[in-house]
Structures are given as C-alpha cells and as structure tokens.
Symmetry: C2
Subunit: 402 residues, 2 copies
C-alpha cells in the first residue's frame, strides 16, 4: 500500500473549507486564516515547550485538554499575542468567541493561533474584521489560508498525501509557516493538518507526537525556540474508514506513516525557506548506539553556526562538524568517524582526510546537500534538516520589527 | 588592599621572558610564540570539554597530570593540530622535544599549544624554525608573543594586574586569543597567564578553576566550542611572598580575586573582538534562585542568534530575550521578569511594555550595552558577556580556510 504525495493542502481531505484574508494587522498582505469543517473533528496537538507561552497556546491547551471535538481554527499572522499578560489571554478568548459567533458554532469547537511580533497587543477590531471576512469567504481554496499564516516566509507551504486501505481513500492535508525562530524540540513553527480519517482522540494524539518527533523536531534554522509554536491535527472522519480506536493495528500504522510523510514534507519546506537560507542540508547520522544519540549528534551539527557558515561559503570544513559532535554531549571515538559530503568521502577512519577539495566543493556548490556521518558505534540513525547561515539571515533578523 | 590593572602582559611578572616570531605557517604574520621562565613554575590548567581534543591538549593534560614544574610554553597559530590522529600526537611531542632542546631544559618542563585550522598536519620544519628563532629572541617584550597567537583576532589581547600584601608585590600577566568558536563551558579560546606568586599546585589549580568559571566560561561569541582551548597559568614564585600552600586564607583569596580580574579583562577583550562583532553586550541576570540558574538563563540569552541579530539591528526586541530564557531550561514566572536596556526599563512586571522606543534605541546605538534582567525569584546573580551577530561574522566564517 503506497502513500502518495498529491497536489493540495488543508482543503484536500473531505469536508474541510478554508479562507485567507487581509484584515489590516499587516500593511498589505493576507494576515488571517480560517479552517472549517461542518463535521466535528477529533483534535490532536503538540505545543512549544518554552516556559514563555503565548496566549493562544495557553487557550488551545485548555481547549484540547477538554477532549472535545472541533469545527474551526482561526489564525492570525503579524502579531504573536505573546508576553501580553491578562489582556492577551482575554484577547485570545475573545478571538475564540468571535469565531464561534461568526460560524454559529460552540466556543469549545474553536481553536486559535497567532504568529508574529512578541509583546504587542492584538488590535481586536482588526481580528474581528478578519473573522467576519474569512467566515464569508470559506471555500475549497486552501492556498489562501496557507498564504495568510506567513510571516517572513518567502513561499507558501502546503502539502497533501493520500492512501487507500480496503477500498477506502484517506487524505491528509497540511499547511505550515516558518521561517525564523526555528529550533528543534517541539514544533517550533505553526503547522495545521486536516484529515478525513476516522480516528479516535488517543490514537490521533499518539500518531501526531510520533510524527512530530521525526519531522518538526528534526529541523533547525537558528536554534531559537518560539513562544507560539504548535502543530494541530484535525480529523473529521468523513473518509468513512472503520474507526481507528487505538494506537495499534495496520491502519493506524499506515495513517501514522502518512502523517509523518506529510509532516516531513512540510518540515523540509520550512528549512528550505529558512531566513536567508541559500542551501538545504540533510544530515544523516548513522552508526549510533541509539536513535536518541544519533539525534543528539545530528542536532549539534545542524545548530552549529560555524558549520552553517562553512556550508554557506561552500567550504568543506569537516573539522567543524567533528567539533560540533564533540560538544553534543554524546560519547564516541572521533577516530572512528567517517564523513561524506554527497558521495565524496572527506573523512575516513583514523583521520584520513586526504580528499579532493575540488569534488567536495562541487557537492557544496549545489542547492541541496546531503552530509552522511557514521559514528561506527552501532546501527541506529537519525536524519535532521537544516540550512546554511547567510548574511541575509542577519539582515532579516536585525530589522524584524522595524 | 586594591588590585590594580597595570599596563603589561605575560612578561610583567618577575622572571618571565617571551618572544613572538614568524616561521611560515601563516603567509606573513607572526605565528609562533614562546614563554620562558628560568625559575621553574607551578602550573595549573583547564582544557576544552569537547570529546574531540587536539593533540597539544592531550599532551599538556598528560604533562600537567604529572604535577611537575614548567619552564616553557610553546604556541603556534595557523594550524590547530586537531583531528590529526597519531601523526598529530607525534608532532605535538616533537614540538615539546625541540623546545626543550633549544632551551636546554627537560622535556617535562615544556607545555605546547596550537590554534588554527582543524584537520591539517603541522609542517614540522616550520615549527622547528619557529622554536629556534623564538628561543633566540626571548626578551621582555610580551606583546610580540601575544601577537603571534592570534588567528582571526583583529587586535592583540594582553593585560596585567598587580597587588601588594604585607610589603610583597605580586604581579599577574596574561595574553589570550579569540575570536571565533567562542562558547561557554571551559575556556573556549587560548589564554596564558604568568605570575610571580609563590603558590602551591593545588591552590593554583583551585584558583584557576574558580576564576575560569566566572570569566572565560561566561563569554560567548557563536556558541561553538573548540577542540583546542586551554587556559594555562604558570607561577614561578619569584615575588617571594610566603607560599600559598592551600586554597584558603587571605592571600589566597586576594590572589584568586586578582586572577579573576585579569581573566575577566581578557575575556571581555575576546568578546569585543568577536568575529564581526560591532557591539559588546553585558548581560546581568539578577534575582535568580541560584548562581547556576542565573548563569543558565544568561547563557541562553547570550547564545540566541535572534537576540544577537536584534542587538545588531539596534532593535529593542525584549520578546526574544524572554523567549530565550523560556527555553533555557530554568523554571520561572515570565510575568514577574523585568528587563532594562542600559537604564531604560523596557519590560516591567506583568508584561508592562509601554516603554520609549526612542530611549531604548539610544541605548542600543552605543558600542557597549548592558542588559539587566531580573527574575524576581531570589538573590543570586551572574554576569555574562557576548557580542552581536553581524553579516561580517558570516563573511569571516564562510571563507575561513580559503
């Protein structure tokens, strides 16, 4: 049974509508997105592990904890509603109330999300306008919603996958935004996934957590973890498959694989659109004693400013990779490590580093680069995605608010 | 009793000579330094905690573990002799042997150090020439040695302090090099300190460790920890003070304070010369439950690329500071935190952020900036030093080897 990438996004699964509009938080670009399903959906979510959590994160946590069903998701960009205290909490709840009112649904059926500048109050008149306008504009065009959740993103991120099981077709669609403050450990960005799968709450939550660990938690742009990040998955059951009640069995496994495939696709899009990024880097850490160890070593390499600038400069500086692994906290024998840039070996065991600078440079001149590192300790592995660090990253972030 | 900063460096304490020469590892600049004391010195050292350790680090660890006395320290720049395997170890021991021979001293009286590119073998002909030439050039000019240990440093880093106790004057001098791969946790750079204090090995080691924790371990340029870093302190006893046998008592305390003052001065120089840095930032983390907690929170702020780019852009983006503290791993109530930029309050308790952008901008436009953050949890504090992240950092590191 194959899982197929299809063209589409959050409106690809049956029964989901969406809209993306401009309500004035940003000067001219779309800044408000609404996702709606008339058939109530089971929800699953993972949130930022930052101690500082934005108001919509706190609100959604409370709503998800109630274990209810959801019909709508309202998202604004341009303002994170983070570090805004009681007033921010009031505004987030008001965003819930206004959305419920506009769609004529219950307040506990609405989830909300915000992304943008920290430490500014939401302008509720604009939010109200965004809700009204987007509720009137609901349709099958998921792209406009994906556009509306962008901040410094240079392209819109949406994807969809589909698979069939016993004659039933199940579709999953998603949209995401990056592209700064991207660090591992929980979904350090926003991603919203819809599916028509018929799946229970516990199974959906388990599948979401498993998939996030191997997708959004394995990407890094700058090592900074945001206050607002969340992944929300809504499943409205309209595919009509026999219900996946528990996190077990063939269909559950298939669904989880499809979800992971979708989240990895969205994760890679976020990295490709990393602020100022000119290169997409896949780090394959092999030969580890455990997946955790592989993850930890790959993470240190992915987050190293020196590695990222060397890749930006197309400099085959493998020493910086080994140095980053050396402070990652794992135990290993550096003399056993081998490193490939693409298919070019740049470091053999016992520090054999007599490689062709020319061939390595050729690999590094590409837009997409695979680094394969083998610890030669065991058989576990992990794949991590990151980008280079460019002058443009600095330019973008030096003047973000102004 | 006051501890006075004086003009000087490693040759300021009695009995120390030095030289800095060009031996051809670099194209034109000085690349070999030698420090010598005829009176044998007690040595103390701290080394990188990176799993990947350069050959000279391994050699010095072995020499220091023997607990002997030292007369010479030989340092080359331009090549780190790191990740060079058995041949690198052989070369480092050969550097010891040649230095001992040139100075007519025992091999276990020599320490060695290297800094520069990782993953290239030392050219031993050039090293031998550097040893011969520097041994012939020994004198009271410490600055030439400080020049010779530079890599991408834009200025020479040396400092000295002096204090008197019961009529005896004790002097400490030091030199250091940065200026990339600077991260906390052990001395992520090279620093060499000489003193004429009469002090025992255990007391000197204890004083060194205590001082390093509050100086070199509290600075950050890019969060990358090197394979070669070390701090070495040599004490030849020529001041003639009553010997400090144990890490206790008034004179020990005074000596440790003087050492910390010297190391903080050198640490700040390294940060000021951070690759591409245009601003020097002091982070004062107050009101913590413990010094460890204060250190941890300050460290996360100091290492945040988003904080560093905001400061580069003179943008009073306090939200990024709070977000960095939020993922630092400490527990705190964000609503209680207050933040000052210079003397301008930018965040009051309960997210009071109605500050003057103009006054904050004025503070951030300075070359040296103090950020004061109060957790309002307890009475412990820690000070950390860092720099901004500029486009030049990227430019320098993208093309380091070429």
């Amino acid at each position: 049974m194959s899982i197929n990438d299809i063209k589409g996004g959050i409106t690809s699964p049956r029964g989901f509508q969406a809209a993306g509009v401009h309500c004035g938080i940003k000067k001219a670009k779309k800044d408000f997105a609404l996702v709606y399903t008339a058939a109530p959906a089971v929800g699953a979510a993972t949130f930022t592990t930052n101690v500082v959590q934005a108001a919509p994160v706190l609100v959604d946590k409370e709503l998800c904890a109630r274990g209810g069903r959801f019909k709508a998701l309202a998202v604004n960009s341009g303002n994170a509603n983070a570090c805004t205290g009681e007033r921010g909490m009031h505004d987030a709840w008001e965003m819930v109330r206004l959305t419920a009112e506009a769609l004529n649904i219950r307040q506990d059926e609405v989830l909300v999300s915000s992304t943008g500048v920290i430490g500014q109050y939401l302008c509720m008149e604009k939010i109200a306008a965004g809700i009204t306008l987007s509720a009137q504009s609901l349709g099958t065009d998921g792209t406009s919603a994906a556009e509306a959740i962008r901040t410094t993103d240079t392209f819109t991120k949406e994807a969809a996958v589909q698979f069939a099981h016993n004659g039933v077709t199940i579709t999953l669609g998603g949209m995401a935004k990056g592209s700064g403050m991207i660090a591992p450990n929980m979904a350090t960005m926003l991603a919203f996934v819809t599916t028509d799968a018929n799946i229970g709450s516990d199974a959906l939550q388990e599948a979401t957590q498993r998939s996030v660990v191997r997708s959004f938690n394995r990407i890094s742009v700058d090592g900074d973890m945001s206050t607002n990040d969340m992944v929300i998955v809504l499943a409205n059951g309209l595919a009509g498959n026999p219900g996946i009640a528990k996190p077990a069995g063939e269909l559950y496994a298939l669904f989880t694989t499809a979800l992971e495939q979708l989240l990895v696709t969205l994760s890679k899009m976020i990295v490709m659109d990393g602020e100022g990024a000119t290169k997409f880097v896949e780090i394959r850490m092999l030969g580890a004693a455990s997946e955790k160890e592989a993850d930890q070593a790959a993470r240190a390499v992915a987050n190293s400013n020196l590695v990222k600038t060397a890749i930006h400069g197309e400099d085959a500086n493998w020493g910086r990779i080994l140095a980053a692994m050396g402070y990652s906290g794992i135990t290993f024998d550096p003399a056993l490590v081998t490193i490939h840039f693409g298919d070019v070996p740049v470091l053999g065991q016992h520090y054999a580093f007599d490689f062709s600078e020319e061939r390595a440079k050729q690999v590094l001149s590409q837009r997409e680069i695979v680094l394969t590192i083998d610890l030669h300790r065991g058989s576990a592995s992990a794949t991590f995605w990151t980008c280079d660090l460019s002058k443009d990253y600095v330019a973008i972030n030096a003047n973000y608010r102004t």
